[in-house]
């Protein structure tokens, strides 16, 4: 057993980080937010009655001019060219031939920079949906009550009949709500049957994105605590602030161990654990980061709210905490714990 990253994995992670920071650094992030923010204001009345249609729609692009789009198609193609979507496809099929652990490292980096778009759905569609692997086609999917990026996707997997747009809390994740089905909360024991391979992978990659975001907000809080001075010393010298930061790191480290382990085992219970720990690390980490930043943290200009809103959005994917907790509880009586 040697749980540490291999040299190749470290290099891959660094390469992906460099790519994302170069191509979707802070300025690009803020520009995308501004685009989405402006569009939201102009669109709001129109969107209230705009209904989406079901099934693999093509050419939804026609509805609005390129200028109004939030998803950067150019960036999407660049991700495709860099192999992000084809990362796990075999080389014989034109993919990069990497495994789950490598994909998880890449999604962690995506979470770090808040890369927008239906990344997971498109990654999962590579090899099934023509053009997805190359980043020519944007794919989203309906895996629960919400669909992300419905209007901007070229292909939708799953039934989205009756989808209604929400005004999304995260400016960079457009959302549609699907009509309620039977509405019953899932009970213990039901999960083994309900698992789908895509659902599990969505959960795992979501956990990886949450991990990246949590690590980023922890670093941002620590950096601020080192430099911001009050009472004649850096606020990081105050224990109340130190303890917020220490709590953030402790959550990140436990989440990291859980997420990486789940990427190696691909075990559903490991994935549920990874998801719970990573959701917690991201959501609470963003909150604490905001607290450490004080008044600046509450401004639109600070990136903290973007991390928090995206983290909230991600917690709803693939069944959310309820599903993971039930899965994990189920395991206790199934005797494999």
């Amino acid at each position: 057993m040697d749980f540490r990253l291999t040299d190749d994995q470290r290099a891959l992670k660094q390469g992906v980080r460099d790519l994302f920071e170069g191509r979707f650094g802070r300025e690009a992030l803020r520009a995308a937010v501004d685009r989405a923010d402006g569009r939201r204001g102009a669109d709001a009345p129109e969107r209230a009655d705009g209904k989406a249609t079901a099934g693999g729609r093509e050419g939804a692009d026609g509805r609005r001019g390129e200028g109004a789009r939030v998803l950067d198609r150019e960036l999407w193609r660049e991700l495709g060219a860099a192999g992000f979507f084809a990362l796990r496809l075999p080389e014989a099929e034109g993919g990069v031939g990497q495994g789950l652990p490598e994909a998880v490292l890449a999604f962690e980096e995506a979470g770090r920079v808040l890369l927008p778009g239906p990344l997971i759905a498109t990654h999962l569609a590579a090899g099934f949906v023509a053009g997805a692997a190359a980043g020519e086609v944007v794919v989203t999917s309906a895996d629960g009550p919400l669909v992300e990026w419905l209007e901007e996707a070229d292909v939708v997997r799953g039934d989205v009949t009756g989808a209604e747009p929400l005004v999304p809390v995260d400016p960079l994740t457009p959302l549609h709500r699907l009509p309620a089905t039977d509405g019953r909360p899932p009970g213990g024991g039901a999960f083994r049957a309900a698992r789908t391979p895509d659902g599990l992978l969505t959960s795992l990659f979501t956990a990886a994105e949450q991990l990246g975001s949590a690590a980023r907000t922890c670093e941002s809080a620590v950096q601020h605590a080192r430099t911001r001075e009050q009472f004649g010393r850096p606020i990081g010298a105050f224990q109340a602030v130190q303890h917020l930061c220490a709590g953030m790191l402790a959550r990140v480290e436990v989440a990291r161990a859980a997420v990486y382990a789940a990427s190696v085992t691909a075990d559903p219970v490991d994935i549920a654990a990874a998801r719970l720990l990573a959701d917690e690390a991201a959501v609470r980490g963003a909150r604490d980061c905001l607290q450490v930043h004080g008044g600046i943290g509450f401004t639109w200009e600070s990136d903290v709210h973007l991390h928090l809103k995206r983290a909230w959005t991600r917690t709803h994917r693939a069944g959310g905490a309820t599903r993971s907790e039930e899965e994990s509880a189920d395991d206790l009586v199934a005797g494999t714990a």
């Binding site: 040697d2 850096p234 990486y260 549920a272 994990s328 206790l332």
Partner: protein, 384 residues
């Protein structure tokens, strides 16, 4: 990232498992947790069995009498012994998990030869005389004095919260040898025989009703200078070695034990109908996730330690911080499952719930662990 064990490691696991399956049924019944002499005998007996089978001091270096096992083998050992329900280290805790490793790393050849074999053979019990009434979290404020008189140090002062003091043969003792030096400078690490004249042990009653720990009064106790580990006034550095072992590896096996208890709690909930309560069920599910993640963190830390020559790093503080709280939550959830029966001291979980309260205090409080994480790992400016 490789979580599979090598064929050698798997073979080691299989051998250990077979051995455990053979010896555990032969063990005498567990003594009452309040009967210290019987507990000492029981714990030492188990240690002797480990020694005879070649499992004593597995992770200690070979020149210290250990087996020189890799951190991974040690992990397997902890996992398997806990899974099989083997006795816990108990009275051997200090000797095996931190005094011993400290002597192995900082002691002279003669000191290693004198003190380590009896720990491994289950003949001598150690206790830890660090804390004092006015020096707990602020350990370096300790005042117990030691001055030279010929070949001896003469020690006067008092220690408190000394676990196992009633039944210990030796004490890893911190004393102040230079009162004029700055706080951290004038401290020395001594091995004190607990039968020396001038030592009075007064057991303290814990909130669980037992006498786990004691006050130790030292009235001109003579300790040979030869019992000093490390240089005079260099005891703080030696202490850091001790504390890194105490926080780094000492709780690892307990995570496995907690996972076992959590499964038992879930089974109990199924039996008494509490499992139908979705809120409780989900709470147990979340705890399962937490303990799984803590086990993964352990594997991560072990891999890191293996590459760093086996010494646990400051990451132990992250682990200790999370683990101590998770353990308390586990027994709170167990109490929820038991309902009113959780007020019955006769239930094992009730006693364990009480003792879990010490986990966020002993071996450095959670507040102190957070200070360590903030200042030593995150590099934030020093407070105060």
């Amino acid at each position: 990232m490789d979580l599979t064990y090598t064929p050698e490691e798997e073979e080691f696991r299989a051998r250990l498992r077979t051995w455990l399956a053979g010896v555990l049924p032969e063990l005498p019944p567990k003594p009452s947790p309040r009967d210290w002499p019987a507990r000492r005998a029981y714990d030492l007996g188990w240690q002797r069995m480990l020694y005879d089978a070649g499992y004593a001091g597995l992770h200690w270096p070979v020149d210290a009498g250990g087996r020189g096992a890799t951190p991974t083998q040690h992990l397997i050992y902890l996992e398997e012994t806990e899974k099989a329900g083997a006795p816990y280290v108990g009275a051997n805790f200090v000797g095996l998990l931190h005094a011993g490793p400290t002597i192995a790393s900082e002691g002279s050849a003669g000191q290693r030869a004198r003190w380590l074999p009896p720990v491994l053979r289950g003949e001598e019990v150690w206790c830890q005389g660090f804390s004092e009434p006015d020096a707990g979290s602020d350990l370096a404020a300790l005042r117990t004095r030691a001055w030279r008189d010929g070949d001896d140090y003469v020690v006067s002062g008092s220690k408190i919260w000394t676990s196992h003091a009633e039944v210990a043969d030796w004490c890893e003792l911190l004393v102040r040898t230079d009162p004029a030096a700055r706080k951290h400078r004038g401290i020395t690490w001594l091995a004190m025989p607990m039968d020396a004249p001038g030592i009075t042990v007064r057991p303290l009653r814990t909130l669980a009703g037992s006498t786990e720990f004691a006050e130790v009064f030292l009235d001109e106790v003579r300790v040979p200078v030869a019992n000093r580990v490390g240089a005079e006034n260099d005891g703080w550095r030696v202490t850091m070695v001790t504390l890194s072992y105490e926080r780094g590896t000492a709780f690892v096996g307990e995570v496995v034990a907690c996972r076992r208890v959590l499964s038992e709690v879930a089974r109990e909930a199924r039996k008494n109908g509490r499992w139908d309560d979705a809120v409780l069920r989900r709470r147990l599910g979340r705890l399962n996730a937490e303990f799984r993640a803590l086990w993964r963190l352990t594997q991560w830390n072990v891999s890191e330690a293996q590459s760093a020559g086996g010494v646990p790093g400051a990451g132990g503080s992250v682990f200790k911080l999370r683990y101590s709280h998770a353990r308390q939550e586990l027994y709170d959830a167990a109490a929820e499952v038991l309902g009113p029966e959780s007020l019955d001291l006769g239930r094992e979980w009730t006693l364990d719930r009480l003792s879990s309260l010490s986990y966020t205090i002993a071996a450095g409080t959670s507040q102190i662990q957070r200070n360590i994480v903030a200042e030593r790992i995150l590099g934030l400016p020093r407070g105060r």
